[in-house]
Amino acid sequence: MVNPEIQGRVYPPTAPYLVGREKVREFARAVLSESPLHLDPNAARAAGYADIIAPPTFAVVVQEATLAQLLADPDAGVDFTRVVHGEQRFSYSRPIVAGDELTATLTISAVRQLGGHSMVTSSSAIVDAVGEHVVTAVSTLVVRGEE
């Protein structure tokens, strides 16, 4: 069972993640996107961006480092092998652009017990190199109880 005491816990900011142009292209192709905004710097510049922009779910790559913090916290009691992804949300202030240096801070917003399972809602606030908000990634993980 997940420790209900971790509700409200804030973890230290992650190491900065430098968004690479080729990584964005690789991710865009992996999610079957054909938009030139994710692939062609000239098309992105014509649309007013400094470089190609990332698809909306790309923030999961940065969020990943924060969820690793949660899974590594011995006090939290989250068993990785029993975790199922329940819900996901991304709320943006602006698109992620290649060249961004992003830092994420994880807050555990809620821990609920439901029919033998635990539901953990985590919120990862992602800011750029000058500390401006870019996106908040909210995940609800379902940790299945022991049978």
Binding site: I53, T57, V60, V61
Partner: protein, 142 residues
């Protein structure tokens, strides 16, 4: 390539894009590498079966991401994505040879004329049932 969307012409209920997406095992491996999600239930049948699954499943985030691409390919440079959310309600089992074909339909769910935003609702169907719940993307127009 369809024409660029015009905010003033959007009406609730309009189907703006529809596409069949073929998710194959190699596409799952590509997504694993691109996203950093190397959970073996997404590429090893023996492991998936050992934890009680029928076999390899697509990453929920791949299904969500690919469905989002149907909307963002339509949106193009006419706007940008302010918000995108989904629930993962049903797994997508990916056959080693045939893969899994999911059908994505993007419909205008709401329009806010003052904020110049449109909510695009994404219906994602696999084998006759929806696999994502409340998959909604909010696009902000210039």
């Amino acid at each position: 390539m369809s024409t660029a969307p015009v905010f003033e012409q959007l009406a609730v209920g309009d189907v703006v894009a529809e596409r069949d997406l073929l998710l194959t095992r190699d596409r799952l491996v590509r997504y694993a590498g691109a996203s950093g999600d190397f959970n073996p239930i997404h590429y090893r049948d023996d492991f998936a079966q050992s934890v009680g699954l029928p076999g390899v499943l697509a990453h929920g985030m791949l299904t969500m991401g690919a469905a989002g691409s149907v909307a963002t390919d339509w949106l193009g440079a006419a706007g940008w994505v302010q918000d995108y959310q989904s629930r993962f309600t049903r797994p997508v089992a990916v056959d080693p040879e045939a893969g899994a074909t999911v059908t994505v339909t993007a419909t205008v769910g709401a329009v806010d004329a003052e904020a110049r935003t449109a909510r695009i609702d994404l219906r994602v169907v696999f084998e006759g049932a929806t696999v994502l719940g409340k998959a909604q993307l909010v696009a902000a127009f210039a």
